[in-house]
């Protein structure tokens, strides 16, 4: 089987956000990690290979630093990686990313059976890439998946919907976007980390894909960013339990008017 996992490098979830002089979010000094949901995608890709044989290819659109997230995925057990890195993709939006990935996966890396992704990137991402990519490749998609079973060229999944879950079945090739709970993510072992250093990591440009800067012109641009108004600490209610609770109920009713 040819198994692909799409990953994105993101800010550490602990990161404090700083707005630079240009009004944009600064990445200076920020610790970068593999997007938490993509860990589930990489894990599922490796598990799928362990059960069915084949190879796991990790793909990403990103800058030089994204190599780290790729090496981490290789250390977990993936076979090789492809980084699409091009100046024209510096401000890539979900549209640009999905155009580049779709070209890669239908051309240079054609012949995949299953693609894994995360359900969303925890930075500026908002769960667009998997849906856009599935549309471009014209393949089935199961989003927000918490359980998966693969047999006889068919995938059965359970996925979250509003207020419940859904059981879906689809034929390969397909795209599965992972939700937390899909699996237990392994940590790279020391030998895994050593081996990862020698695994193939190919860096390609838009030209290598036969795409022009126009093909990936963004549709959405972030003009500026601001910090949200800081929440102020409010009142701490002190005293006997009976008293403070009575006070709280009164405040909720008469001051906040929320009950």
């Amino acid at each position: 089987m040819k198994i692909v996992a799409c990953i994105k490098q993101t800010f550490d979830t602990e990161a404090k956000i700083v707005i630079g002089a240009d009004g944009q979010i600064s990445d200076e000094g920020v610790n970068l990690i593999l997007n938490p949901y993509d860990e589930f995608a990489v894990e599922e890709a490796i598990k799928t290979k362990e059960n069915n044989g084949g190879e796991v290819v990790i793909v990403t659109v990103g800058g030089d630093s994204a190599q780290e997230a790729l090496r981490y995925s290789l250390a977990m057990g993936a076979d090789r990686a492809v980084l699409i890195n091009d100046p024209a993709l510096a401000n890539a939006d979900s549209h640009a990313v999905s155009v580049a990935l779709a070209k890669l996966l239908s051309d240079k890396e054609a012949g995949f059976d299953i693609i894994f992704a995360g359900k969303e990137a925890v930075d500026d991402g908002v769960a667009q890439v998997p849906s856009r990519l599935a549309a471009k490749l014209d393949i089935a998609l199961a989003n927000v998946v918490t359980a998966i079973e693969l047999a006889d060229g068919k995938i059965s999944v359970t996925r979250e919907i509003d207020g419940g879950t859904e059981d879906l079945e689809m034929a390969l090739p397909a795209l599965v976007a992972a939700q937390k709970g899909l699996n237990e993510v392994r940590y790279p072992s020391l030998p895994g980390i050593m081996k990862a250093k020698r695994k193939p990591l190919e860096v390609i440009s838009l030209a290598d894909l036969g795409l022009s800067a126009d093909d990936v012109a963004t549709k959405v641009e972030m003009i500026s960013a601001e910090l949200p108004p800081a929440r102020k600490a409010g009142q701490k209610l002190t005293g006997e339990v009976d008293e403070v609770v009575a006070k709280l109920v009164d405040l909720l009713k008469n001051e906040a008017k929320v009950i």
Binding site: I19, V122, A135, S156, G163, G164, E166, K219, T238, A256
Partner: protein, 319 residues
């Protein structure tokens, strides 16, 4: 030009966020001098039209077809994309529900439109639209522009006000070709029971590691049911197996903005605050006076939740 609102329904019942999106669409249409059309996709959805008329739809468009009885992203996105192509609207709005976000994104992928997801504000000025959307889980608010002629946006649930309005309210049918689905829906399982959906709830009662065990959630449920609230959880309580992940609030859980958020036995880690920091009012109940939740809570009670919550339930019942 028109504004299209894709109104989400399941089993013929429109979701709350559909009315929020339509109300916002009407407000923007009034500002831009456009008309607003509400598109409903499904099977046996005729009754939705009357309801949507009350919120200012100038036209309700029904894509009513047996092949659309079960929701699949592909078939619904194909219908939405076909309608967008036919209508060429200035703006397409829908709710940022689990279903809405993927449907909008797949339709955007088909039509190559720019889409800003999870908006908390849409502004019309000088003939153009600007969108605000929290990034890095609410640690910053980004301002966005869309360069494609057709702009799409999904709206964060519970943020936009629902307002009744007059509209022409004609009803039209839309019958595009529907592709064969590549996905088969085997079963739909409801889990929320009688409690409101977490992202739509006006009040949320959440519990964390401080509950001490799964039975601690009985207290939270009792409080929630007294208030007609939804039940949420910190990640620590989810990781411990006390609550299903679908209840997790935070950066890697649900993002919620209720009128009232009551956090009991939750320390207030940055990743948790990311999911509930935009709540109108926050109450923190924690035995540690130094807990970070008190830095964001409007009202804080320092004490043992096992003592505080039963009294709170009692007093709420009296009130």
């Amino acid at each position: 030009m028109s504004i299209v609102v894709c109104a989400e329904q399941r089993d013929g019942k429109l979701s709350k966020v559909a009315f929020e999106a339509l109300s916002e669409g009407k407000r923007l249409a009034a500002a831009a001098g456009d008309t607003v059309k509400a598109l409903v996709i499904g099977s046996g959805i005729g009754a939705c039209a009357d309801e949507l008329k009350k919120y200012g739809a100038d036209e309700v468009v029904l894509a009513d077809n047996e092949a659309l009885a079960a929701y699949t992203t592909e078939t619904y996105a194909a219908v939405l994309a076909a309608f967008i192509a036919q209508e060429s609207p200035a703006l397409v709005l829908m709710g940022h529900s689990v279903v809405g976000r993927e449907l909008a994104a797949r339709a955007a992928g088909i039509t190559d439109c720019g889409l800003v997801s999870d908006c908390t504000e849409v502004i019309f000025a000088d003939g153009d639209y600007t969108f605000k959307h929290p990034v890095y889980a609410g640690k910053a608010i980004g301002t966005f522009k869309i360069s494609s002629a057709i702009r799409m946006a999904t709206l964060r649930p519970n943020v936009f006000a629902i307002t009744e309005a007059e509209g022409t309210g004609t009803v039209a049918e839309f019958a595009p070709e529907i592709p064969a689905a590549k996905v088969t829906v085997k079963a739909v399982n409801k889990v929320s029971g009688d409690r409101p959906e977490l992202t739509e709830a006006d009040i949320i009662c959440s519990g964390g590691r401080g509950l001490g065990g799964p039975e601690g959630f009985k207290l939270i449920e009792e409080l929630a049911d007294t208030l007609g609230a939804a039940v949420g959880s910190s990640r620590a309580a989810v990781d411990a197996g006390w609550r299903d992940h679908s209840a997790q609030v935070g950066q890697t859980g649900k993002v919620v903005s209720p009128n009232l958020y009551i956090a009991s036995g939750i320390s207030g880690a940055i990743q948790h605050l990311a999911g509930m920091g935009t709540s109108k009012y926050i109450v923190g109940i924690n035995k540690d006076g130094e807990a970070n939740i008190f830095n964001v809570a409007d009202y804080g009670i320092e004490g043992d939740l096992n003592k505080v919550i039963p009294v709170l339930v009692e007093k709420l019942k009296e009130a």
